[in-house]
Each structure stands twice: as structure tokens, then as C-alpha cells.
């Protein structure tokens, strides 16, 4: 396993695109979250108590929800990294050199894991810094109270990345794969879901994965928003991730390279 990680790191560390996308992700989270809590409402809306969204413990919910929009960038990064292996025909060369197809996929999954852990760490650090600055008298129990959203963010990110991995394996061409990834997640699934009964549309892959962390602002207008993300969506998200991994393995093992 250590060997597989070392191989994957050798591929990405000198790769400029890798760092540019990660830097963009970090910058967006920092900037957007710092800007978000400087929003001032006029007096008529002051009863909404915006401050609670940016202090412990609700901060974790707000932050992970905002961060989930930028996970898209990491998905695009994963698609680029996977399709590169087909464009450069290095997947083929890796196999010829003696890597098994299962090892090749395992290496990619470990890389996905590292990217998801990195993203989670960035979210965690942003949260801690902001929370400690904004919260009056933060105590440990307050800080930890809604930390399960951070766990959920990690699982959600991993699920997005597994979907990106699968798309990359399926399509093999970066531009096309990114197009399909965006088209499916932003247009096809929402449109298809609109025509379906809720009992089905609520469990389509993207709806499930993005539904893991729901918009906390909906509370303001009286919607019931789950106070913990670890429910049925969590199980489904893990299930979809495993499905994407299995699908990727099937594609890799059945196809000629």
C-alpha cells in the first residue's frame, strides 16, 4: 500500500495542474467563508440571528455546506488525473510494467482518499480559526457538538470523487468526462428527478450525496433541516461510493487498454 501511495504521489507532485486546482479550492473556501460572515442584514431582518451560523457549533454545518459547492473542483481534478492515464497511455504502461489492474485502481483510491482528507483538513482548519475568532467563550463541548458535519463532509467528498473516478474510467477523455460530470450532476439528474416521484428522486446519486449536508439557511424560512447528517443519506452515500468503485473496477478489468 505504501508503494502504491508513493507511485501516485510521484505522478502528481510535479504536476502543476494538481497544485493549481488545490490552491483554487483552498482560496475559494477561505475567501468565501471569511466574506460570508461579514454580511450585514438591515434592521428589519436582524431577528434572524445570522451570528449563530458563524459560531460554534452551527458553524460546522454552514461551513461544510458552503465547502460542498467547491468539491466540484476536486471532482474535476480527479477526472483530469484519471483521464491523463488514458491519454498518455500510462495506465497501459503501468499494467505492462507489472501493476495489476486491482493495484492500479487501489492506487487511485488511495490518491482520492488523500485528496478528500486534505479537503477535510482545510475545512476543519477554516472552521477552527473562524470559530475561535467569532464565538464568545468557546468551550470544548460547543466546538465538538456538530463536528459530525465534518465527518459527513469527508464522506460526501469521497463519494463525489468516486463518481468522478467512475466518469473518468468510463469516458477516458478529459473534456468529455468533465462535460458529462457537470451535465449529469447539474442538469440531467435534477431534470429527471423532477419528473419522478419523490420516493425515487430523493435517492438518485447526486441528490443523495449533496443531500447529506442540507442548506442550513432553510431553517430561517421554517423548513425542518436535520441537525445531524448521519442518517439514511449517509448510508446511501457510502453505498453509492462503493458502487462507483465496483463499476470502475469492472470497466478496468473488462476493457482492453
Amino acid at each position: 500500500m505504501k508503494k502504491l501511495v508513493s507511485i501516485e504521489l510521484k505522478k502528481v507532485i510535479p504536476y502543476l495542474t494538481f497544485w493549481v486546482i488545490l490552491a483554487l479550492y483552498v482560496a475559494l473556501i477561505f475567501v468565501v467563508f471569511f466574506l460570508a460572515h461579514t454580511i450585514k442584514l438591515n434592521n428589519k431582518l436582524s431577528f434572524l440571528n445570522l451570528k449563530s451560523y458563524y459560531t460554534f457549533p452551527d458553524l460546522w454545518h454552514t461551513l461544510t455546506y458552503i465547502a460542498s459547492f467547491f468539491t466540484l473542483l476536486l471532482g474535476i481534478l480527479v477526472i483530469i488525473l484519471i483521464t491523463n492515464e488514458f491519454t498518455f497511455r500510462t495506465a497501459r504502461q503501468n499494467i505492462i510494467d507489472g501493476l495489476s489492474k486491482a493495484d492500479f485502481l487501489a492506487g487511485k483510491l488511495l490518491l482520492l482518499l488523500l485528496i478528500a482528507l486534505f479537503a477535510t483538513a482545510i475545512v476543519f482548519i477554516t472552521g477552527m480559526v473562524n470559530g475561535l475568532l467569532q464565538t464568545d467563550n468557546p468551550v470544548t463541548s460547543m466546538i465538538l457538538a456538530k463536528m459530525d458535519f465534518v465527518v459527513a463532509y469527508f464522506v460526501q467528498t469521497m463519494a463525489y470523487l468516486c463518481f468522478a473516478l467512475f466518469t473518468g474510467m468510463l469516458v477516458k477523455k478529459s473534456g468529455l468526462a468533465i462535460g458529462i460530470f457537470l451535465l449529469y450532476s447539474k442538469i440531467i439528474e435534477p431534470l429527471a428527478g423532477w419528473k419522478m416521484p419523490d420516493a425515487i428522486s430523493n435517492y438518485l446519486p447526486f441528490h443523495t450525496i449533496s443531500g447529506l449536508i442540507q442548506n442550513p439557511a432553510l431553517k430561517m424560512i421554517g423548513f425542518a433541516v436535520p441537525e445531524s447528517p448521519l442518517g439514511i443519506h449517509f448510508a446511501f452515500t457510502v453505498g453509492y461510493s462503493l458502487l462507483f468503485i465496483a463499476g470502475s473496477y469492472l470497466l478496468l478489468s473488462r476493457r482492453d487498454l
Binding site: K3, F88, T90, R92, N94, I95, D97
Partner: protein
């Protein structure tokens, strides 16, 4: 036995790229797989290296069914050199070394062999085609593999590059590696290989030692004032196997036995014919190849 193919077939849709191929490669040989473009050479090598799934049949490396681990004992290039364009040559080879479980100290040595030491820190994308080709040979040499598989290693190179790569292959063979080389160039197979299998449209036409398979028969061209008489006299000689008239109006003769030009000249002279043209030449490999692949 290094490699054995048993009834190996590959079907792409309705088309058979390789049909029931049986081959065995012995230790220490330089084995050429010769065939025109599209004859199934790369497909065959792809199946032996686990990147193309056979439709049916078996690949047996080192006497064991294909598992994947044995590929670490094989150094291969298939078609084009495949590397990460944004990485330096040395970093590309480090990835290959990691996969093969080879110590990094081997990298310097293989770069030295192919003459790329001075450019090892340049990005792969800045390399010329010849350098790319040499880097892939360097990669194939990592860890002193027992077998080296090369697919069209001189494709697209200039004459100097071709000569260099061929020299390199022979040097490698001297170190005791078994080499399997696919090529559409007869001349390359003849110059480099000890054994050859000829493929056409995915079928094995013939296989054996290069001397046997590509043995060029001698042809003697003869001409005289009176061609009609020359033909009659030639037909009367039981040693002459075949006679045809070529485009130049000369008679081409092949023989059942080893006949020298002098003996033939003597034979015609004794039969009252003065030859005005007599030339000995080897039947060209192209002719031999066309002959083999005609059926």
C-alpha cells in the same frame, strides 16, 4: 520455455484480429514476429502482456498460466513510448522502477546504456522521437528482466537512429536476455533475430529459425542473343528447378542443387550458347515474404 501461446484468439466485434495462434519462444533467442501492418502483432503482444483480454486461448509465461506478477520479470514497450509528459525521464523511470520493485540505482545504468544520461532531468515532452524510443528501451531494461518485448522499436526513426537501436538490441541479447521483437520490416528481423514467426491477418503462416524461414534461394539471371534457344537448352537441364522471363527480357533460373555461375556458363557454352548476360543474385526478402504470405 519462456513464452508459450496456446490457441490464442482475439475477436474485435465480428473481426478476428488473431486466430488460434500457437507459438513457443525458447530461452536466449531473439524472436521476431513478422507481419504487415494489421497482421495482429501488437494485439498478440498486448494479450501476452495483460492489456488485451484474449477471446480464447492461453498465454503461458515461464511455464505458468498468466497471473500478472510475472510481468515484473519482463521489460516491454508496446507501440509508442508511453510516459508522463510533464515528468523528467528520471522521474518517469522511478515510477517504472517502483512498479517493478527495482532499486533506483538501476536507473542511472539504463540511461547510460541508451545514451540519455545527460538529458535525464529534461521533461519527457521535450524529447525527440528517437529519444522517446530510447527512453522506452531504457525502461524495458530496468532491473535486468529475463525477457524483453519490443514492438516496432525502430518505427519512425531516421537511418542513424535505426542502426543505433538495432545495435542496442544485439548488445542486450549478448547479455543473455531473451528478446521478442515485433516488426513489419523483414530486413530488421533478418538482421537482428535468430527466430521468426510470420503472421498474416492474425494467422501464423510459418515459424522457425530465421535461416530456415527466410532462406533466400539463389537466382541466376541469364541472357543471350537467341533467347528461344536459351530457354530450350535451360529446360533440358535437370538441375534447373524453375525458369521465368523477367521484365528486362532476361531469364531467371532457380536450382535444385547448388549451382555456380561458372558451371552454368560452362553448360550453356557446351550447348552452343554464348551468354551476353550472367548475374547471380539472392532472391530478395520481399519476394520471399510475398511468397510466404501469398496463400
Amino acid at each position: 520455455m519462456v513464452l508459450q501461446l496456446v490457441d490464442l484468439s482475439k475477436q474485435f466485434g465480428p473481426m478476428f484480429a488473431v486466430t488460434a495462434l500457437n507459438l513457443s519462444v525458447e530461452q536466449g533467442t531473439i524472436y521476431g514476429i513478422l507481419g504487415p501492418n494489421g497482421s495482429g502483432k501488437t494485439t498478440t503482444l498486448g494479450m501476452t502482456l495483460g492489456v488485451i483480454r484474449p477471446t480464447s486461448g492461453q498465454v503461458i509465461w515461464f511455464g505458468q498460466p498468466h497471473s500478472g506478477n510475472e510481468r515484473r520479470r519482463i521489460g516491454s514497450i508496446l507501440e509508442t513510448p508511453n510516459f508522463y509528459p510533464y515528468l523528467s525521464a528520471a522521474n518517469n523511470l522511478r515510477i517504472a522502477a517502483d512498479i517493478k520493485g527495482v532499486d533506483y540505482s538501476a536507473i542511472e545504468r539504463v540511461l547510460e546504456i541508451v545514451g540519455l544520461s545527460s538529458r535525464k532531468n529534461s521533461q519527457f515532452s521535450t524529447y525527440s522521437l528517437g529519444m522517446k524510443q530510447r527512453l522506452s528501451i531504457a525502461s524495458a531494461l530496468l532491473g535486468k528482466p529475463e525477457v524483453i518485448v519490443l514492438d516496432e522499436p525502430t518505427n519512425g526513426l531516421d537511418p542513424a537512429g535505426i542502426a543505433e537501436i538495432r545495435g542496442l538490441i544485439k548488445d542486450i541479447a549478448k547479455e543473455g536476455h531473451t528478446i521478442i521483437l515485433a516488426s513489419h520490416l523483414l530486413d530488421e528481423v533478418e538482421k537482428v533475430c535468430t527466430h521468426v514467426a510470420v503472421l498474416q491477418k492474425g494467422r501464423l503462416i510459418t515459424a522457425g529459425s530465421v535461416a530456415e524461414v527466410l532462406a533466400g534461394e539463389s537466382v541466376i539471371e541469364a541472357g543471350a542473343e537467341d533467347m528461344a534457344k536459351l530457354i530450350t537448352v535451360a529446360k533440358a537441364n535437370p538441375e534447373i528447378k524453375l525458369l521465368t522471363k523477367n521484365d528486362m527480357g532476361k531469364l531467371e533460373l532457380t536450382f535444385n542443387t547448388n549451382v555456380t555461375a561458372a558451371r552454368l556458363n560452362d553448360y550453356f557454352y557446351k550447348n552452343g550458347i554464348i551468354l551476353n548476360h550472367l548475374a547471380l543474385r539472392k532472391k530478395s526478402l520481399e519476394e520471399r515474404f510475398l511468397e510466404l504470405t501469398k496463400t
